[in-house]
């Protein structure tokens, strides 16, 4: 396994790993979502509730200046001074109304803000917990606490809430589609229609109403804030609020807020000053809410000036609402909360007794949260800040009286700042280190690719020597990184010890590798050698449209990448070659287009996309056509492969057993298992059959995997070669005929590939299985195209060399791979085919498109090992398969003679193809990482760019592992098999049955 060329690929893989690790650490903000909840104790709920009911009205994107008493100068004629009610009431009834300027934490998207507003925590991209896939909140939240305390909840408005709290609102929920930005009124009118009947009820059937208006946000998105529609919308909201205030009773608290602001164009999502300016207004009709008489120390009160506003306004963090509202309603503060109680709401007596109780409960809750987080598996994130927090806490607890309150208040703010630094800030330094490493690893892959093209027999010594040099330089680099870390750590602290060491080690060895081989790089570079599909594919990640239409893009690029082959096909000197190239290209193109038809459509592709992977967008059952095709596909594919191998008469040896018998049965078992799954979920046979079906499909899936591993894999591992050796006595001499020699490498490696294929087949849904079959046909046709094009090139070389008679020699046309070499344009279609099949098998570059059904292939219940393995196979199978197939470019129709030279050459080209593929996926990673770094404050970053980066990073690593397996196991075993064969027949009379050129 540690054979020639393997180590250099391994080193490239480690470099990728280092780059991805660093970049991810800086970019992907993660947080462990703790599932603990708080309950009411005298300490946690220090005083009885002030209000028994509350109405929270969220006006999406209600920016602070829309309601500000002193709007910016000059005021806008479209959105200032129209929603006057909060300012008016704060003026006329200062003890009943509190208007605040709230700071919502970026990303300022509705889903993240809903999470923040209910849990009081900071939003991160991945809230890791038990619900990785879904977006529902399983943390402690206000909503959860209200339900736990027997409050009756009603909800109307933006349906995002239903995905976040799927079952919190019972039958009093009226969600409306939030996706139609074009529609300005449906949601608002729906909210109004359902809100007022509840308000006017004589005997209230609710304790908590949540209304979420979307009109202001939609006007912003569609027309921007400076549009007459915004004026109309704000006036409508003003009327609604006046009506609500009219209907309000004594015991009800009204909270009106914007979940985030909007920028000057009306969009939001980033951390711009306007996007992070939201309004927050609390109002109590009869009972006093605040006491304007008391003198709250300045320490507690922060002010912020809205851009261009004449005076600063009292400002709070938006999540401060969470502890304040909790305590006002007499429920415990949610466990994960990081907000601080708003002093005005509790400082009602002159001594501020009530407030000090509140802040004590608040600080204790935050301390408890920090302690729990510290003790959790992610506690290491707090390493740097922990000591300071502990000191602060101990110091505060030694204080007394009003100083203690101040100290506790400061402690909550310090905790918030610590967590914000930990979760909500990109570490740009580490990100750039990672990006630099990713870029340099691409250059290193290029260097390996270019160098292996120019080397001949001496490549093995070069690869050993390079591995040694890389190891040496990584050590040097690691030491440099270490010393830089210790030299700078007293002054600045941006990157951790591990970051510095990883960066130093891989950077130094990459630089060394690239600079040692810079001549090969410059020599291999021509204008015409620029791979246009790769360049376009990489640049596409700079645009959100191209990123979410990437499935269509790959069809286009794949077809474009086959055009040069077709053009060469026309120039073929013999009709046979011409028909082969054109015919197989056409087959390839049709397969690619068929794969492209299958899609699950991502949300952003609507309304221009129709789900074809499933029967419809609402039903996750396969379409009828797929049900019909699935069994013929499973049985037919091995036979088609056999037919392809028959072209070079390589369907002998173990291929003669595996292809017609074992693979069809194994694939059929997988298909039937999924057909049973369809029957089970369609409930076609009634519930009594369900356990039977479940059991049957579990057994079938296990049989399929077992058959693949026990029969196919072990047979291949020991016999390996697809070759038939006949010997007979002719006139006293023994004559040995070897059939299938011309494609010995290719056919034997293909069996290895098919083993992985059938493993992935088990984990793939029915439509995906059909697509996988089509993609396998595409792969084989492409290999035939490449082979024929090489024949054409080889003939051209032979003709132009002036000695066309070389074509007639035994291995004249066969070993073109040696003379014609391997081109990057041959790697591109395979790389694209991997991406294309990924999309065709019902995946998208979104987390929500992960097919969780695959977790239950082998077991009825979620089991950590098998479920994760099958989901991974399902998700990354396509990338894995086509990366595993990459050595076929070097092996297909390569005869293993003359013996050691041909094998060594095939191996060199196999390693070269592998490094080329790593270069392709590495460049894609550069594209997506650079775009998500550059656009990290873009509106779409968490929806489009970050998921695509995650896909690019994980698919690169999968591709790396696949090529390592292909080179380390596949190619090595084939070579070992060949050595055995030739060793067994030292004086073999090689009656090689040639492929007809």
């Amino acid at each position: 396994m540690w054979s020639k060329g393997f180590t250099i690929i391994l080193w490239l893989f480690l470099t990728h790993l280092g780059g991805v690790y660093l970049y991810t650490r800086g970019f992907l903000l993660t947080r462990l979502a703790l599932s603990e909840t708080n309950s009411c104790s005298p300490e946690a709920c220090p005083f009885p509730p002030s209000y028994s009911k509350a109405i929270v009205l969220i006006i999406d994107a209600l920016r602070f200046d829309f309601v500000a008493p002193n709007p910016p100068v000059p005021p806008s004629p479209f959105h200032h001074n129209f929603l006057r009610l909060p300012a008016e009431l704060s003026q006329s009834q200062p003890d009943h109304s509190l208007l605040l300027y709230a700071f919502p934490d970026p990303p300022t998207t509705t889903l993240q803000r809903i999470k923040g507003l209910t849990t009081g925590s900071l939003p991160t991209f991945v809230d890791m917990g038990s619900n990785f896939g879904g977006s529902s909140i399983l943390e402690d939240s206000i909503i959860g606490q209200l339900r736990a305390h027997g409050k009756r909840l009603a909800f109307m408005g933006d349906d995002t809430w239903m995905t976040v709290f799927p079952d919190a609102f019972g039958n009093m929920s009226w969600p409306f589609d939030s996706f139609h930005v074009e529609d300005l009124h449906t949601v608002d009118e729906g909210v109004i229609r359902h809100l007022f009947p509840l308000l006017r009820e004589e005997a209230k059937t609710w304790d908590f109403i949540l209304g979420h208006f979307l009109g202001v946000d939609h006007v912003g998105h569609r027309m921007g804030p400076d549009h007459p529609n915004m004026k109309a919308k704000l006036e409508q909201m003003d009327r609604v609020l006046r009506d609500v205030v009219e209907e309000l009773d004594d015991d009800t608290l009204l909270v009106v807020l914007g979940d985030h602001g909007m920028d000057s164009k009306g969009d939001h999502g980033g951390d711009g000053a306007l996007e992070t300016s939201a309004a927050l207004w609390l109002y109590s009709k009869t009972r006093p809410l605040v006491n304007p008489e008391v003198d709250i120390p300045e320490h507690y009160r922060t002010y912020r000036t809205y851009p261009n506003a004449p005076v600063p306004h009292r400002s709070v963090q938006q999540i401060d609402l969470v502890p304040s509202l909790s305590l006002l309603l007499g429920i415990p503060i949610p466990f994960n909360n990081l907000g601080t109680v708003i002093p005005e709401l509790f400082w009602t007596d002159h001594a501020g007794e009530r407030f000090s109780n509140a802040v004590r409960a608040n600080a204790a809750q935050i301390k408890r949260y920090l302690d729990t987080y510290r003790g959790s598996s992610a506690g290491g994130e707090l390493d740097d800040a922990w000591e300071g927090l502990q000191k602060h806490w101990n110091a505060v607890n030694a204080l007394n009286g009003s100083l203690k309150s101040i100290g506790l208040d400061t402690f909550t703010r310090v905790a918030l700042a610590t967590c914000r630094a930990m979760w909500a800030q990109f570490n740009v330094t580490v990100m750039s280190l990672g990006l630099t490493l990713i870029v340099s690893s691409a250059f290193a892959a290029w260097a390996v690719y270019a160098k292996l093209g120019s080397l001949q027999e001496d490549w093995e010594s070069w690869s050993e020597q390079t591995t040694w040099t890389c190891t040496k330089w990584s050590t040097v680099g690691a030491i440099i990184g270490l010393s830089v870390y210790f030299a700078t750590v007293p002054f600045i602290k941006v990157a951790g010890l591990l970051d510095c060491v990883v960066f130093g080690a891989f950077m130094a060895s990459s630089i060394c590798l690239v600079s040692n081989n810079r001549t090969s790089i410059t020599q291999s570079f021509h204008i015409s050698s620029i791979p246009l599909p790769l360049v376009l594919h990489t640049l596409a990640f700079m645009s959100n449209s191209f990123t979410f239409w990437e499935d269509h893009l790959t069809t286009f690029l794949l077809l474009s990448s086959i055009v040069p082959f077709v053009l060469i096909g026309f120039t073929a000197p013999t009709p046979r070659l011409r028909y082969r190239v054109l015919g197989f290209s056409a087959l390839f193109a049709v397969c690619v287009r068929l794969i492209g038809i299958s899609t699950v459509c991502r949300e952003e592709q609507q309304p221009y996309c129709e789900v074809t992977f499933f029967a419809s967008s609402a039903i996750t059952a396969p379409p009828i056509l797929v049900l019909i095709l699935s069994i013929p596909c499973a049985i037919g594919l091995p036979l088609i492969v056999k037919r392809f191998l028959n072209i070079s008469q390589a369907d002998k040896g173990i291929a003669g057993i595996l292809l017609p018998l074992i693979f069809p049965s194994v694939l059929l078992q997988s298909t039937v298992a999924w057909l049973l799954e369809w029957l089970e979920s369609a409930d076609a046979l009634g519930p009594t059959w369900s356990p039977v079906l479940r059991g049957a499909r579990t057994v079938l899936a296990w049989l399929s995997i077992g058959g693949t591993l026990l029969i196919c894999a072990s047979l291949w591992y020991h016999v390996t070669l697809c070759i038939e050796v006949k010997s007979r006595e002719v006139a006293g001499k023994r004559e040995v005929t070897v059939i299938g020699f011309a494609n010995l490498f290719g056919s034997s490696f293909l069996m290895f590939w098919l083993i992985s294929f059938s493993l992935i087949y088990v984990a793939t849904q029915l439509t995906g299985q059909v697509i996988l079959c089509i993609s396998a046909v595409a792969l084989l046709s492409f290999l035939e195209v490449v082979d024929s094009v090489r024949d054409i090139r080889g003939m051209d070389i032979a003709f132009s060399s002036g000695k066309p008679s070389t074509l007639l020699e035994v291995d004249g046309t066969q070993s073109h791979t040696a003379s014609v070499g391997l081109r990057f344009s041959e790697i591109t279609p395979l790389a694209l085919l991997g991406v294309h099949t990924f999309y065709g098998t019902g995946h998208q570059a979104t987390i929500s498109s992960i097919q969780w059904k695959a977790a239950f292939v082998l077991t009825a219940k979620m089991r950590y090992t098998t479920s994760i393995i099958t989901v991974l196979l399902n998700n990354f199978g396509p990338f894995f398969l086509f990366a595993l197939a990459i050595p076929l470019l070097a092996l297909w129709n390569t005869a293993p003679l003359p013996h050691p030279t041909s094998a060594s050459n095939a191996r060199r080209l196999g390693v070269r193809a592998a490094s080329g593929l790593m270069l392709y996926y590495g460049t894609l990673l550069i594209g997506s990482a650079a775009s998500s770094a550059w656009l990290r404050r873009h509106l779409m970053v968490w929806k489009v760019f970050a998921p695509r980066f995650m896909l690019a990073a994980s698919s690169l690593l999968v591709v790396d592992i696949a090529v390592l397996l292909a080179v380390g196991v596949g190619m090595s075993r084939v070579e070992a098999g060949l050595n055995r064969l030739l060793g067994a027949m030292p004086t073999m009379n090689k009656g090689v049955k040639e492929k007809v050129p």
Partner: protein, 333 residues
């Protein structure tokens, strides 16, 4: 001004070429029938015709679908369109983006008429080139005339062949567009019209000029087939007339291909609707290709003329060798 002087000089070149066999050949390779030493190059006519043709194509692209003539078809195509598309039915001048189907249909119609004219002219040019190459020093005028007559009488047959081949190619290109990602379940007519437009732009002229490629084994079919392969698979035109055929075709293909790229952006612009971007890309590519073919041929012609004038000025040939070699090398690359 230069237009008045160049024809004479061009003719002079041609005559000189015919008489002077020692001038280095434009292409050293002699696989096909290009045994003539210098391609015939009607500079002035070419200039004017390329100019008119490309401007008329641009007119077709930008104005024809909006003219009142085209509103004749409005009733026909509106019925085929989505009802949501005809919001501006009453406004008198139809816009280009209002109904992509109608726009592209008019593009095809306009292009067809222009291509007939253009292909006829290119065919005549190609004929002149052959006449010169066959007639050598232009001695057998009568035979030439005879040939020309048969050539002219074959015009109708050639036109029929060209139309037939274009029709076949239009389906082929529509299928190619489908493979490249055109909608599979809808917009068939739009995709077909794109195929037709591309076929008109790329296939019609060469088919009319060269004849249809066939797989017959006789020598004429073989030569035709090899010429097609050389021109469109190897993309190596050898004379101005071939360049005038190949460059626009390649331009149209590339333009059509790159036209698909902006269609994917989420700008929701009306001009992004299928198949407007690709159609306009193809037309634009054709115009650019045609102009660049003209530019390259004109430059080459000027260089030839310059070299020959030097040769004639210094008959010893001392000045000729470096220049001639240079240009020869340049071409053989």
């Amino acid at each position: 001004m230069s237009r008045n002087t160049t024809p004479r000089s061009t003719k002079g070149t041609a005559n000189k070429t015919a008489s002077n066999e020692s001038v280095p050949t434009a292409q050293p390779d002699q696989r096909t029938n290009n045994t003539h030493s210098q391609p015939f190059f009607p500079f002035a006519r070419y200039t004017s015709i390329v100019g008119v043709h490309t401007s008329l194509l641009s007119f077709t692209a930008l104005f024809l679908p909006r003219t009142s003539l085209s509103s004749l078809s409005q009733g026909l195509f509106l019925s085929l369109n989505n009802p949501s598309d005809d919001s501006s039915r009453d406004s008198p001048p139809p816009t280009l983006t209002e109904s992509p189907l109608r726009t592209v249909a008019w593009l095809c119609a306009g292009t067809f008429i222009l291509q007939i004219w253009w292909a006829g002219w290119v065919r005549g040019w190609s004929l002149d080139t052959r006449d010169l190459s066959k007639g050598g020093a232009a001695l057998e005028r009568t035979e030439q005339k005879l040939q020309r007559q048969t050539w002219n009488s074959g015009r109708f047959a050639a036109f029929k062949t060209a139309c037939l081949l274009t029709a076949v190619a239009s389906f082929f290109f529509a299928i190619v567009a489908l493979l490249f990602g055109a909608p599979v379940f809808s917009h068939f007519l739009q995709t077909y019209l794109l195929g037709l437009l591309v076929a008109l732009l790329t296939v019609f002229t060469p088919a009319y000029t060269l004849g249809a490629p066939s797989f017959k084994t006789d020598i004429v079919s073989l030569v035709t087939r090899l010429t097609w392969i050389r021109l469109f698979a190897e993309i190596s035109p050898r004379s101005p007339v071939e360049r005038a055929v190949v460059y626009p075709a390649v331009g149209a293909f590339l333009g059509c291909w790159s036209g698909a790229i902006p269609a994917g952006l989420d700008w929701e612009e009306p001009w992004q609707r299928w198949p407007l971007t690709t159609s306009y890309g193809a037309l634009g590519g054709f115009v650019i290709g045609s102009l660049s073919a003209f530019g390259v041929s004109a430059l080459e012609n000027l260089a030839n003329f310059d070299r020959q004038s030097r040769v004639s000025m210094s008959p010893s040939g001392s000045a000729h060798s470096p220049q001639g070699k240079g240009s020869k090398k340049l071409k053989s690359q």
